[in-house]
Each structure stands twice: as C-alpha cells, then as structure tokens.
Symmetry: C2
Subunit: 230 residues, 2 copies
C-alpha cells in the first residue's frame, strides 16, 4: 500500500484535529525521524506526566534513546507506555486574523512500550545509531570502553504506532478577509550548522572526521539526507 | 535571593542528572520561554502518556497554551497535571569518545495543573499573549470575532514549579583521551527567520506590520529580546 494512503496503526495515533495534515506511512515517520535531532519523551510518573528532551537514533523499525543508568525518568519509562514526539519547526504563519496564525512544522508522534536493551551487542549497536544519527562519528571516535557501555541505559520503542503531521504553506484565512487591509503570509525558518569549534585542548594537526566537517553550513533539518549522516 | 542560587520549588522539578547544569530562578525560566517558540505538552491519557507540540505565551506568572475546543488532548489535560517542556537546540558536541557526545541546549520543564481559562477577558488576553509571543501581531491583525474566541480553548499553567537546564561549551572528555588521536569539539546551530512570504492572494500595497517585518534575518532563539516580540 503506498504511504500516501496508509492508515493509522491504532486508534490512539489517529489524528483528530487537522486530520488532512496527517500521514501514517512508515516512510513518512522515518523521514521526520531522519530530519530531527531531538525527541521529547513523555512518561507517566507518580508525580504526573514528565516530558524530557533527548537525542535518539533508529534502525528503521525501532527508535532508541539512551541515558545514564542513574536516570530516574528513563528508569521509570522501562516496561511502560511512552510517547516519543519529534518536532521540526519550518516557519511561522500570520493570518489576517490572529485566529489563523499557525506554524509550518513536521512532527512525528510514536506511542509504544519502552523496552530495555540488555543484550550487549544490541546495546552497542543502538548507541552507535544514536551517535551516528547526528553525524557518522562512532567509528572515528575512540572505541567505547565496556565500562562506558555499562554506565549507559538504552531503551527501544517499536516504530509500529505512529502518526506524522506536516503543515506547509500560508494562512487559511476567511474568504471575507482576503480583500481586507490586513497582511497575511508566512516567514520561513532555517536551522543551520555553523563552523566547527575544536576543543581548546585539541592537539595540533588533528582534523575532524569528514562526516563531522560536512555538517558546517548544512541544514540541520534537511528534507533529504544530512551530509554528515552515517 | 538572586536567581543563581534559587532552589527548586518542589522535589519533582529538582534535577537529578546533570544537577550542575540546573537553574531554578524565575528569570531563568522566563529567559527560556522568551527564546523558544514551541512547547511540548505532556498529558496522561487512558491510553498512556501523550506529548504534543504547541505554540504558547506567558505573562510572567502563567504559561498559556490553546487549541480548538474539539482538541481531545487539551480537553484531557484540563484539571490534571501536565508537563510543559520548551527546548532550544544550540549545537552538537562530539567527544573523543562517543560516550561524551552531547548537545548544547537550553530547556525549561514546567509542571503543574492545567487550569481552563473561562473568563472571556482573560481568554482574549491569553490569546494575544500567545499570538504576540512570536511577533507582536494581535493589534495589527483583524480584530478577533467573538465566535473565533469561543471556538478556542485556552489553558494556563502557573510558572511555580519549574527547572531550567543549560548546556554550553564542548565535550567533557576523559583526561587520558585529551592527547590522543581523536577529534573533539562542537558545531554550533543557528536558527534564523528568512524573508517574508506574503500570501499569494494578498492585494497589492499591503505591507507587513513592522513587528513581523523585523523578524526577517533575525535569530529565532535569541539570548536577548526577539526583534518582532511584543
């Protein structure tokens, strides 16, 4: 079935508001995950809901997030339902009426159970996916010590129940406002990587890996592949 | 008490991990809210936690978010605990070891009860704050009809229980890695507004309000006031 007519995998990820902006294809979900850098993970705690920003990676069928073994929010998530939301802001929209102000965005909402990764090989592979999501850097970095791996908790969420919402274009103004005296339109937003800033204590003569060097000046949230992505 | 030594308002917003990056001053919270444009609101639903991106505004003591009256997630939040997280990504950090990869960011986490705004005057004022948070545009737009206000639900969260986490600088590499052959450093991220794109059906001769025109080329997430901010 082509992605453009894919149906929601469950009722809890079916869009109610702005349903015409919704997409449920697996490729639609992966496109947003590939373009984003930060996920907001929602967990239910005894103190109420908690939402924390975090890096992530994916292998096409599972999304991975990581944290210190001592991370209380991540520990609370293990074995429970979580919601992982990735949002990219592409612009701001001003209507003739403020009621039609909006934003241009791409967002993915993934719901599922946070499964702890305990197999050392899968854990190492997940950490590489998270690391390389920003730019392929795992293989060019100093090899991870086993102690570093042990101090890191990784949880996975299957990419089975997900929805994507994409808003492009300008305001949807009322017909009677179109010929009025008020301005309407949008202002695009662009997010770019700047120049590399080597650590002050970096010895002379050590160049950045090509994948990291390729980030400079590129789009952080591209609609195609990121230059430095592994 | 100066903000730099402010204490967490409650245990549930006290930072456990990276406590040295934490700030609890009211001004610290407002600085992140002023610099951000999108909040991720976490609510607990019968189907598990849900995290949705949304625009927001604040008046210095209350944060406001809005949605259609028919918005199920927002309706579910009313009267219940929510978590509102605003995150700004300022850069990516590459350590000599991938274990020390990180990100530069500013984030605020606010926990509290979502209170419905039913007073028409406060509702209108809250909608202006949300609208003007991006750029002062409420007064220059067509006046909001009462029917538009009625179709919009506004909820408020008191800015009483909040924490801020700010990460700047480069990787915190292991001392034994510093003289090694691996690169370490960071790549800053800059998010900017582009040129104004008027709606295709905008009549000739209608100029954008100065506050919107001032956005073009400016920082989306400034450390000081945004040019177009009301």
């Amino acid at each position: 079935m082509p992605d453009s007519v894919a149906l929601p995998a469950s009722d809890r990820v079916r869009l109610r508001r702005g349903a015409h902006l919704g997409h449920y294809g697996h490729d639609d979900v992966l496109a947003v995950l590939d373009a984003g850098l930060v996920a907001h993970v929602g967990v239910t705690t005894p103190d109420g809901p908690m939402v924390l920003p975090t890096a992530y990676g994916h292998d096409g069928s599972r999304l991975y997030v990581h944290g210190a073994v001592a991370n209380a929010a991540l520990r609370a998530a293990v074995g429970h339902d979580v919601c992982v939301t990735v949002t990219i802001l592409d612009g701001v929209i001003f209507g003739r009426s403020a009621f039609h102000n909006s934003m241009q965005y791409r967002s993915a909402v993934i719901r599922g159970t946070a499964r702890p990764i305990t197999d050392p090989a899968e854990q190492r592979r997940a950490l590489q996916l998270i690391s390389d999501h920003v730019a392929a850097s795992w293989d060019s970095a100093r090899s991870a010590h086993d102690a570093e791996i042990r101090r890191t908790m990784v949880v996975a969420v299957e990419l089975l129940e997900a929805s994507v919402k994409i808003r492009t274009g300008g305001p949807m103004d009322e017909p009677e406002d179109v010929d009025g005296p008020h301005w309407g339109g949008h202002v695009p937003i662009r997010t770019t990587f700047g120049h590399l800033e080597p650590s002050p204590d970096l010895p002379d003569g050590i160049a950045a890996p090509c994948s990291i060097a390729a980030l400079a000046g590129s789009d952080v949230h591209p609609r195609g592949p990121r230059p430095g992505r592994g």
